[in-house]
Symmetry: C3
């Protein structure tokens, strides 16, 4: 029985670390269109730092709901391409995700979205007419044709493999309150130099007078960039629901000289 | 009465300073497609220098006519996001523009295009079912859904707000001839290192023997790059109608060590 | 007689050195959509090094078959824009290519694809209603409208000009075995720092015990990146069919300090 709630919208998103300098992404789109000429393909990002699977997962889990249900999200950050690592298909809130089994999808588990995960079987892949698979570019040779078949409604997720539970969760912790303190870390830095953490706005809301600290600095919490003076450091809950450190009309990353992994703490102001 | 000449083409262009490194642009497209699945979305540029609203306006005013009438052009370079700054909808030559009220659209005023400008009212935004607006990402939460409704023909510009005249013009001067001289400046630098000025080819055409100067250098005026020898500095009227300084098969910006704001002068050669 | 086997798919790919920082690519898409609103436009790459026509050709020849037959591939790496250089239309294996006559298309000749090449005549261009052509941006003013007419099926290749044979082949050599040795070179470097050569996997297959050398180093040949330890240098036949030197989870270009043009040799291991 191939039951599924998935109703394809015809939209396919792409998240990779391929960059846009080389034709890798374009070639994936060629293979998608070869199987589904009407596909609406959207680049989510291709500038994930090389092989940073968890960072890709972070962004995808915080972005996918901007798309209509029925969207197929393809995420290829895949240092293990061509080895025995599995390829996963996960169903989450009416969306489908395709990603290598390397921790990328763990971001959906910590958000409590209860993804229904399957590993693609060789038989299922072959049954879609997928042949001549290279050892180094599964984005083109497997992910693209499978995504096109799913987006076309010609293949149901259940046909790809059995449900499984022992897939890789990676490192996707969401800090919780411990002794009046939330200790998180910078998980990504955006183009503006904003330091984006894994501390959820919802967790922070439980504090009456939250004080944000990075290293020895106390950072004032504002609602938006324009509420601080140009050049001033501020913290805010960003549009993706997590705590972010920014410099108004500047770069927090440059001004602080800090990067991924830096500890950020929020605690109740007591005195 | 919601009369408008605007007949949507279904095409939406995007101009931002979001870059393509993060999923910001992809997320905007998700929201556009969620409201208008058939939208044809084109990236004009996302690499405007952070918060350079006027540079975004310069390029948009010089590019929009490449698209068919009925196109909705969304420009989000928006350091004031979440503050009291208005969002404008302008109708120009059968196209629609959506942009913050921060000087970006002034480029259309100096080109004599007489944009019909409205500020979006909170009531109009709410009437489109736009809820849960973040303080920091109006591109996703307001610009995208409004653009989709306009491009779908489900919302007329007049429904968004009343015509107004006191919107921000910014700094978008077009030099005019003064005592036999045109004094302009470098307003942007393209990927090839070409220095692009605000001096219009049409203004230059009024000089019989125009001589181009940048600093102490006199720069020969040519028709195209290939008319100079590789490595030589040249000036030309570029495909966007303005004076540009280039190095044939090289970078003028690097060779001259000059950037935005540098004065460029054209004067009548007299002796 | 305007016979052609070309059956348009409605897909148009773009390969340029325009970058994505400026609106050049977006403006080309505007002109494409103005003539063919239903066009499905795919960016192959816009980050070819400025004016590296042969590198663009290398990638296009190794990528085009990912797209369905009937696709129009537009390649604009064009230092001679506005000079007397011709614009070519080539028919290859059911695809069409549009490119300047500067060596770019030579990559298709060495692959033995026997492109049927025509040079666009001024009469043909004018007959498509193409007017007001700038001297510096033929991508927008000629390539885009011609591609749209071809992709729309309103113009057959034969209507653009007569078949010709004396077009520029450029430097697109494929090394062949000579005294038990294949001597090639690095032709491009991808975003991961992988050094990609012009040595075909097929040529290498004729060696029983191939040994790969770059400078004084012997590089072990593997099937995929994950077969080497992180940080180790390896060689493999990549997904585009050519020999590539990589560092597992690292950058070969950075680790070796080597770039385009570096000689790579494969020879039979004899002792």
């Amino acid at each position: 029985m191939n039951e599924t709630r998935f109703q394809p919208s015809g939209i396919i998103t792409l998240t990779t670390d391929f960059g846009l300098r080389d034709p890798f992404v374009g070639v994936m789109k060629g293979r998608l269109l070869a199987r589904l000429a009407t596909a609406s393909i959207v680049d989510l990002t291709h500038e994930v730092p090389p092989q940073a699977a968890e960072e890709a997962g972070f962004w995808l889990a915080r972005s996918f709901e901007a798309f209509p249900q029925g969207t197929v999200h393809v995420a290829v950050v895949d240092p293990g391409v061509g080895t025995a690592r599995a390829i996963l298909c996960a169903e989450v809130a009416g969306h489908l995700l395709l990603a290598p089994d390397n921790g990328l999808l763990g971001a959906f588990a910590v958000k409590g979205l209860a993804p229904a995960v399957r590993a693609l079987t060789p038989t299922a892949v072959a049954s879609l007419g997928i042949r001549a698979v290279s050892a180094t570019f599964h984005g083109r040779d497997i992910f693209a044709p499978v995504a096109a078949e799913l987006a076309a409604g010609r293949c149901a997720p259940a046909a790809l493999g059995a449900l499984m539970s022992d897939w890789q969760r990676g490192r996707h912790d969401l800090p919780t309150l411990h002794e009046g303190s939330l200790r998180g870390r910078v998980v990504t830095i955006d183009r503006f130099g904003n330091l984006i953490t894994n501390i959820e706005g919802a967790a922070l809301a439980s504090l009456a007078r939250p004080q944000v600290r990075i290293g020895a600095r106390v950072v004032p919490l504002h609602r938006t960039y324009g509420d601080a003076r140009a050049g001033d450091l501020l913290a805010l809950i960003n549009a993706f629901g997590v705590l972010e450190l920014a410099v108004a009309q500047g770069s927090a990353s440059e001004q602080l000289g800090l990067g991924r992994g830096t500890v950020v703490e929020v605690r109740e102001l007591t005195e």
